[in-house]
């Protein structure tokens, strides 16, 4: 058989997919009887493709996957530096909120104070609790990182007059605690390998 008479790749495809009119389909079938090895290889390949398309599932992931990955790329590629530092901004102070009659007791008013700080990197919630009669304080906190930073990787430094007085670390929930703190003014430094957040001038007083 003359090689030029062999069915072309596109003809083989149309023939396999049943897209040819009967007379042309018969013609391709006849020409295939004496086709060369290259044509047979093409036919085998197309049959394999057909088998694959029939047995293999092919689907797109839910849109939320892409949204998350685009967000992660944006966070991971945020410019630069080797290390970033932010000063936290106080956005909520329970003592600064108007008291609705009867809803907050005098004990609660005196002994527990809640503060929320924000930065570009994380949101930090602090609870300051006074312990009577020792007149000491417990500071508990929780970090909610905005970036894809695991919550258990933060170290928390408590400073007084620029000197470290205590060191802690977050747990799996991003929580940490400092106990038995005397009244005074403190700074808290929250840090990871990528950044550092400073909470300045935290007053512990009755």
């Amino acid at each position: 058989m003359n090689e030029s008479n062999a069915p072309r790749f596109s003809e083989l495809l149309d023939w396999l997919e049943g897209r040819l009119p009967p007379d042309k389909a018969r013609d391709v079938a006849e020409r295939l009887q004496t086709a060369d090895a290259a044509t047979q290889t093409d036919l085998d390949w197309l049959r394999l493709f057909q088998q694959a398309r029939q047995s293999v599932q092919f689907a797109s992931p839910p849109p939320s996957v892409r949204e998350t990955l685009i967000q992660r790329f944006a966070e991971a590629r945020q410019p630069p530096g080797p290390f970033q530092r932010w000063l936290a901004t106080l956005t909520f102070d329970s003592r600064a909120q108007p008291v609705t009659a009867g809803l907050r007791s005098a004990v609660e008013e005196d002994q527990r104070r809640q503060l929320i700080y924000i930065t570009k990197a994380a949101e930090i919630a602090l609870t300051i609790q006074s312990i009577l009669p020792e007149k000491n304080f417990i500071v508990t906190g929780q970090i909610f990182p905005r970036r894809d930073t695991p919550t258990h990787t933060f170290s928390i430094q408590l400073l007084r007059d620029a000197e470290e007085v205590a060191l802690s670390a977050t747990d799996e929930l991003g929580e940490f605690t400092f106990s038995d703190l005397p009244a005074g003014e403190y700074d808290i430094v929250v840090s990871t390998e990528q950044y550092e957040v400073v909470i300045p001038s935290l007053h512990l007083q009755l």
């Binding site: 596109s10 293999v56 992931p61 685009i70 590629r77």
Partner: protein
């Protein structure tokens, strides 16, 4: 630079990776366009649920993101992603088997699989297909995906409308794309 010219530049995996490293979000989206379906489908074809396959897809691309700066220039990204996706799929399958009271029931939720999770030939076929599609240019890949792998089985007219192509060119173009896929696979296999 006009957008079309910019798009032309971002054709190869190496270009895409470099553009991602320089912080170009369009490159990352194009990379997801190119491979998210492949990665997701690997897990699906191993029998994971949609939710688990979505988790694996997320993990796989997050690992890619973490490794963008250290990938070698000559990397075959489709194979790299397939390997990572496969590894995490196996982990989830193993965990699901451990946790399921009846492992057969657990995996039978994926009806299209017919409960087959150990079909080696089927997996090889799937990965052969993924690799072939990933070697195509974007236009060909989208055309073949629309014609052969869209669950809604759109007509030529629908595909022509969607891809803004003359309907008469759909048939010949799909043949050219398949021929390109066969040649690309042949070249890749002989390397």
């Amino acid at each position: 630079m006009p957008e079309t010219a910019q798009n032309d530049i971002l054709q190869t995996d190496r270009d895409l990776i470099r553009a991602c490293c320089s912080g170009d979000p369009r490159a990352w989206e194009r990379l997801l366009d190119k491979y998210e379906r492949l990665v997701f489908s690997i897990s699906l074809n191993y029998g994971l649920t949609t939710d688990d396959a979505a988790d694996v897809t997320q993990i796989t691309f997050t690992i890619l993101l973490q490794n963008l700066n250290t990938l070698p220039d000559e990397i075959r990204l489709s194979s790299w992603l397939a390997t990572v996706a496969r590894r995490h799929t196996w982990r989830l399958l193993a965990r699901n088997r451990r946790e399921a009271v009846n492992p057969d029931e657990d995996l039978a939720g994926n009806e299209a699989l017919g409960g087959i999770v150990d079909d080696r030939e089927r997996q090889e076929l799937a990965e052969w297909l993924y690799q072939g599609l990933s070697l195509l240019d974007e236009h060909c890949r989208q055309l073949l995906l629309a014609l052969y792998f869209d669950a809604e089985q759109p007509s030529y007219a629908d595909v022509a409308d969607h891809m803004k192509m003359p309907i008469g060119s759909i048939g010949p173009t799909r043949a050219r794309c398949l021929e390109q896929m066969r040649q690309s696979l042949h070249t890749a296999e002989s390397l």
